[in-house]
Symmetry: C2
Subunit: 242 residues, 2 copies
């Protein structure tokens, strides 16, 4: 089997790469809140009948629930409403579609965290900020379905990591990003006087990671949002006081 890197797979299909760029960059076509399709001049051929972002969201939900291996292309076709060759043309094979779905998941969380995870010494206390962080995570772990689905990375990517180099890379990448983010957060907190100097930001970041993992696991096992909030509250209190 040929090794295909995570980066390669993510950018495999040109069709969606273009879309990803148009989503990431600020809208170059004007200030009006137009649909992306109505904005820039429509490309040459037959127009795409689906919204790529919505497809990723729907695909993510299937992968999240059934895992990568147990999710068939028929499942994906049924869930997204896009038929098989179109999925291939738009997103690449099953593995590429999975990776893109997980990127979608990752970015959705990342954007939420951006709104709460900063400490400049002016706003709220460390424990309330961390509390808000946990609320966000608990929300994504329990709010996507009737039955809580837990952490999509732990619940699905962990399973596949040894067999799929690209998924392993994505997993490592995600962990690294998490670590860096929280280490920076706690370093900032220290420089602004919100965190005592004797604490080690690296260690605290690891601790947050552990607690988060705990929540993700318990959610998958059926714990309710309330149960998880109780746990998160206890943890935050223990680490940062009431």
């Amino acid at each position: 089997m040929v090794h295909q890197s995570y980066e390669t797979l993510i950018h495999k299909s040109e069709a969606v790469e273009a879309d990803a760029v148009s989503l990431a960059l600020p809208d170059v076509c004007g200030d009006q809140a137009l649909e992306a399709s109505a904005c820039c001049k429509r490309p040459r051929g037959r127009p795409r009948a689906y919204d790529p972002d919505l497809v990723l969201k729907k695909a993510l939900h299937v992968f999240w629930q059934k895992g990568f291996a147990a999710t068939s292309l028929d499942d994906l076709v049924e869930a997204t409403g896009v038929n098989r060759p179109s999925l291939y043309a738009g997103f690449g094979d099953k593995e590429a579609l999975y990776l893109k779905s997980m990127q979608h998941y990752r970015q959705r969380i990342s954007e939420q965290l951006d709104t709460v995870l900063s400490c400049n010494g002016q706003g709220d206390s460390l424990s309330t900020i961390v509390g808000r962080y946990f609320d966000i995570m608990i929300g994504t772990y329990t709010g996507q379905s009737e039955h809580p689905l837990g952490c999509a990375f732990m619940c699905t990517a962990l399973n596949e990591a040894p067999q799929h180099e690209s998924i392993l890379e994505m997993l490592q990448n995600t962990i690294e990003e998490f670590d860096v983010r929280f280490e920076r957060f706690f370093t900032d907190a220290q420089t602004y006087g919100c965190l005592a100097a004797h604490h080690d930001p690296k260690v605290l970041a690891q601790m947050i990671g552990g607690i988060t993992a705990n929540l993700g696991v318990r959610a998958r096992a059926g714990a309710s949002a309330d149960e998880l909030r109780l746990i998160a509250g206890n943890m935050t209190r223990m680490l940062f006081g009431a």
Copy 2:
């Protein structure tokens, strides 16, 4: 699809149920350290050509690496050396074999923990005991293969939980057992004066669970035993002092 409970599945095949009992109960055939087969009078038909416990161990390794869904019966036949109908006769279907393999895993860890996880106030300090606990977990997370495999529960059972009632039950059961064990450990530690009264055993148990989860995840992502020991050391120091 008919619901089959975890308990039912575990005791599905009579052949191995008998073996499980003979393993769980103290050996009724005498004090000598005999092979199970050489001990009690051999049953009537053709003797089994494999060691059930060894088969479970080998099957576990495959499931651990590839996950439940991606492991085919051909994989299991190749890894165990037992052909398909014999696997079915001996352990039930793929799901039952998986559950039994995971029980094997669980018990192996449980027995190791029994040797270190007790606090009667006479022996070592809390932090060294907890340190030994983490060493055991790190050992199972990294010591089974060249590439570290992480926590078998988090890496495989989490993935299947929503689709397989029996696996979900096993997962819940395992989490519960973990919680109870550590809660008791810390309560004991408090009564023997090894842990300050202001600590909440429940919360500490959750914390240990989180750190353990963190180790299991990072191992699957490729972290070495040394890296994990560093993390575990930092955590223990933070919680219980140097």
